[in-house]
């Protein structure tokens, strides 16, 4: 087989599996191949088991699968789990290897082949330490073995490339790029380590030891290897966002760190706040002051932001844009695992009623485009905007074409200038207008002095308890979602993928998109024709479209990464249509392509109302 391959590297946290896997991925992309790469790790700094999956294909994979063709084990646990612990948690990955697949592991572990309990896989014991020492010797560093021990991962990378018979130079290049400037020497060391692994595999296991090969393909247009956190961060920069607040939290922090590292280039203020309450309120303060602003968090932080969100709502702040990187809750939950369980909370967070826009991008590219739009809508409608992403999207690498920024235009809405203010002296920040939106000044503008308050207020922004004003202000505010709904193209709000006439409609939102699209192909191959209704705007909700699609479908299946099928509930609330079946997963892990296939297959076969998946 060629160019259809899933590789996994596992080891204790701190063993550098990320950089190795990302180097492998880069080498693949540079060879015209396509990748999908995602990581699972514990809420721990060093020592706990983590693993990185890399799927390589000649066509663009949009999800992972639950089997592994070639497993790289940096330690015993990766293969056999932690069943020796008093509170064991997993049984390792050896059973996930596809028949005919293989394991690269440390021959120093002196494992008996029988101990793997499988006779349908190939074993590739590699003397990690000896090879590392050899590699270090070339640089006279073999005395500092302990300092460089982590480099066994690169040896395993080299061996992997050898087994799949891929172009070693591409790996060299990828490694090199990671070590520039003062670190260049370290790069050479790593390349040598990889080379030792590569040569060893070639020499010891022979040319055809492993059944799958990777072959370069012709390069098309330039592609990037990018994760959700980067796509959203870049979306913010493109949108002219000037202010980002955050309080560290997995998996959101990476986004702020990306922005911080590009701070001087884009004059982006990034503030580490004392907590998330401060983070959202600082961002709202900046938005009112006229700067596009944003904050980024996960569930626990968002829980603390509820009150601030309401203040942004009633004061008609032009933002902030809030990125909610969902993770498995409740409370601390599974802090480094994924989930889509904050849909309803995002929709209803904070007491009282006020408008908000909620967008749920389905993949890395949508992360970018939706974030850009979010700032335009925030300013245009003077509302907070929430982007619902998750840990899976945050940390999953994909190769995609460079973003197309043609026609992307910053739209700041009705932002008045001093000249306008000079013309109309009695400026009212909350003026009732025919269009339903009040022209917005910013502090510092002459003639624009305004007041703003979280109390109900009059057109000037002064407190009022008058019943009639209250009613008008409520209507004015709430109506903005309606206004936004009219302007946001329906084609953005929800998308029907696949044949319109398919008898089965899968319904999903957010990060399950890739697995659903890939799973549909398996279903089709199996004779099950489906289409996929992707809901991208949670609010304003595309009621009519959803109604139309679902009422013409023979069977509807919600695929959600949560317990209760929150989107299915929302659909029923808005359209009255009860989704026929739910395929859910709430073990903290993302859907794989095969899980979508299996779940829907169960539904089709048994008419199951509810299928709970858990493959880990």
């Amino acid at each position: 087989m060629v160019n259809s391959f899933t590789w996994m590297i596992g080891g204790p946290q701190g063993s550098g599996i990320n950089s190795v896997a990302e180097n492998f991925a880069k080498a693949c992309i540079r060879g015209g191949l396509h990748v999908f790469a995602n990581i699972e790790y514990h809420s721990n700094i060093k020592g706990e088991h983590s693993y990185y999956r890399l799927r390589v294909d000649s066509r663009e994979p949009r999800s992972h699968v639950d089997w592994v063709d070639l497993l790289v084990a940096l330690d015993r646990e990766t293969m056999f789990g932690d069943l020796n612990k008093v509170h064991p948690t997993h049984r390792g990955h050896r059973h996930e290897i596809s028949p005919g697949g293989g394991i690269i592991y440390d021959s120093g572990l002196k494992l008996q082949p029988e101990s793997f309990g499988r006779d349908d896989i190939k074993l590739f014991p590699v003397p990690y330490m000896d090879l590392l020492i050899d590699a270090l010797k070339e640089f006279g560093k073999d005395k500092e073995l302990s300092k460089y021990q982590v480099m066994v991962n690169t040896i395993a990378l080299g061996a992997s490339i050898g087994l799949v018979d891929y172009d070693f130079d591409l790996a060299t290049e990828a490694i090199k790029e990671g070590f520039t400037g003062r670190k260049a020497a370290l790069g050479d060391l790593n390349i040598s380590a990889a080379r030792h692994g590569y040569d060893y595999a070639k020499k010891m296991f022979g040319q055809n030891a492993f059944p799958i090969k990777l072959r370069k393909q012709p390069l098309g247009a330039k592609r990037m290897m990018i994760r959700g956190v980067q796509a959203i961060a870049i979306g913010k920069l493109k949108a002219g966002c000037g202010f980002q607040t955050y309080y560290p939290i997995t998996p959101a922090t990476d986004e702020s760190e990306y922005l911080e590292s590009h701070q001087p280039d884009y004059n982006m203020i990034v503030v580490q706040a004392e907590d998330e309450i401060s983070a959202i309120n600082m961002a709202t303060g900046a938005a009112h002051a006229g700067l596009r602003s944003s904050t980024s968090t996960s569930g626990p932080g968002f829980s603390l932001m509820a009150e601030g969100l309401g203040w942004a709502g009633i004061t008609e702040a032009p933002g902030p844009v809030i990125i909610l990187w969902q993770r498995a809750g409740p409370a601390t939950g599974l802090p480094t695992r994924t989930e889509q369980a904050d849909l309803r909370f995002a929709l209803h967070a904070a007491h009282g009623e006020f408008p908000r826009i909620i967008i749920a991008p389905g993949d890395v590219a949508e992360c970018f485009y939706d974030t850009f739009d979010a700032f335009n809508y925030a300013e245009r409608y003077q509302v907070p905007v929430i982007i619902l992403a998750d840990k899976f999207l945050a940390s999953t690498y994909k190769d995609i074409p460079l973003f197309n920024t043609d026609g992307m235009k910053v739209d700041r809405g009705d932002l008045v200038q001093e000249a306008d203010l000079a013309k109309s002296p009695d400026y009212k920040r909350y003026q009732f207008t025919d269009l339903g939106i009040s022209p917005r000044a910013r502090p510092g503008l002459k003639g624009g002095v305004f007041w703003t308050t979280g109390d109900e207020h009059d057109e000037y922004g002064h407190i009022t308890e008058a019943a009639d004003l209250r009613v008008r202000m409520m209507k004015k505010r709430m109506n903005k979602v309606e206004l936004a709904s009219q302007v946001i193209p329906n084609s953005k709000k929800a998308i029907l993928h696949g044949p319109t006439s398919a008898p089965i409609t899968l319904v999903g939102w957010g990060s399950t998109k890739g697995a659903i699209l890939d799973g549909m192909e398996d279903l089709r191959a199996d004779g099950i024709e489906t289409n996929f209704l992707q809901i991208r705007y949670v609010n304003p909700f595309p009621t009519d479209f959803v109604q139309k699609v679902l009422s013409s479908s023979r069977r509807t299946v919600a695929v959600e990464n949560n317990y209760s099928g929150q989107m299915a509930g929302l659909i029923r609330e808005r359209t009255g249509i009860a989704i026929d079946s739910k395929v859910v997963k709430f073990d903290g892990r993302p859907f794989s392509q095969n899980e979508v296939y299996e779940g829907v297959k169960d539904v089709v076969r048994d008419g199951a109302k509810e299928v709970t998946l858990s493959h880990a």
């Binding site: 203020i269 401060s278 308050t453 979280g454």
Partner: protein
């Protein structure tokens, strides 16, 4: 030439007759007048409480925020537009109860702004419960029993938190308050002013008469001015650690004085780089003009994309 009326609004003021808050809002207006700060260059921020209504009475950009959140919101606005003169006001419950975490962590930043605490010992707007500054053992009018928790010393807390200007004044001594506010606003860095504020409706202990010392045998006013005792809280050279520490130490010791004699005036002052200065060091473009005035329409992200390609 700006006049007092330029700093006033037509909004009906619904504070109780005799409330110390009147003194504070007057002093703020008079200070702004004295400094001839243009209303549109001022951002006045408040929390929730009786004190929270302040911005509505002042003709300046006014932000009446959430209970306890005035500092984060003011911080965000100031960072977005450092050319604004930012003044935050709020109650003692707002600032040291629900807002204590922001109080502490804002002090550390040394943002160039002024924070005015309406220190009345009670939660005014919710009808007179003990606020964090009420000393232990006291029972004001509407409390069912005396407080069993230690009162917070706002001056000590501010110094421990890193405010670089720490002063106290009195709502009913508008002259002193005005001078103190002016010094606070002119200070480059985080300035904190603890304003002793009478609440004739709920605080029947720390009344005007009490501050005047009417209950003392001497009948002498409790409040005395630090400046008049030769006390000097100013750090001449902040790079000298010993001086800084000894001035802080003096200020802290002074802050414990509370009883028959209560000091007002500047307890501590030190000028060091502000948060904005340091940000601008990292991003020189921010030195040229405030961020809100930058062009955001044409950012080029292609270098970022290339980095990932």
């Amino acid at each position: 030439m700006l006049e007092l009326k330029n700093y006033r609004t037509q909004v009906h003021n619904d504070w109780c007759p005799g409330c110390g808050d009147f003194g504070i809002v007057n002093a703020i207006q008079m200070t702004l007048l004295e400094m001839q700060l243009e209303p549109h260059r001022i951002g006045l921020f408040s929390g929730i409480g009786c004190s929270g209504k302040t911005p509505h009475f002042v003709n300046a950009y006014g932000f009446h925020t959430l209970h306890g959140r005035v500092l984060p919101i003011a911080t965000g606005a100031k960072l977005a537009n450092p050319s604004l003169t930012v003044i935050a006001v709020g109650g003692d419950g707002d600032g040291l109860g629900i807002g204590a975490g922001h109080f502490v962590n804002t002090g550390r930043r040394n943002l160039d702004f002024t924070y005015v605490l309406h220190d009345n010992g009670v939660y005014g707007l919710t009808k007179g419960q003990a606020s964090p500054t009420l000393p232990k053992g006291l029972k004001t009018k509407s409390m069912p029993a005396p407080s069993i928790v230690e009162g917070i010393n706002p001056i000590a807390m501010a110094i421990a938190s890193g405010y670089t200007f720490v002063a106290r004044s009195y709502a009913l001594d508008v002259r002193h308050l005005k001078a103190t506010l002016r010094a606070a606003i002119e200070h480059r860095g985080s300035a904190f002013v603890d304003v002793l504020q009478t609440c004739p409706t709920y605080n029947d202990i720390n009344t005007k008469e009490w501050y005047a010392g009417d209950d003392l045998p001497s009948k002498a006013p409790r409040l005395y001015k630090l400046e008049e005792t030769g006390y000097d809280g100013r750090v001449a050279d902040p790079t000298v650690r010993d001086e800084t520490n000894s001035k802080k130490g003096n200020a802290l010791l002074k802050s414990f004085e509370w009883g028959e004699k209560i000091p007002i005036g500047v307890f501590f002052k030190m000028e060091v780089a502000t948060f904005e200065d340091q940000l601008a060091n990292r991003m020189p473009a921010l030195k040229e003009k405030p961020f809100v005035e930058h062009d955001i329409y044409s950012r080029d992200i292609s270098p970022l994309l290339d980095e990932l390609a």
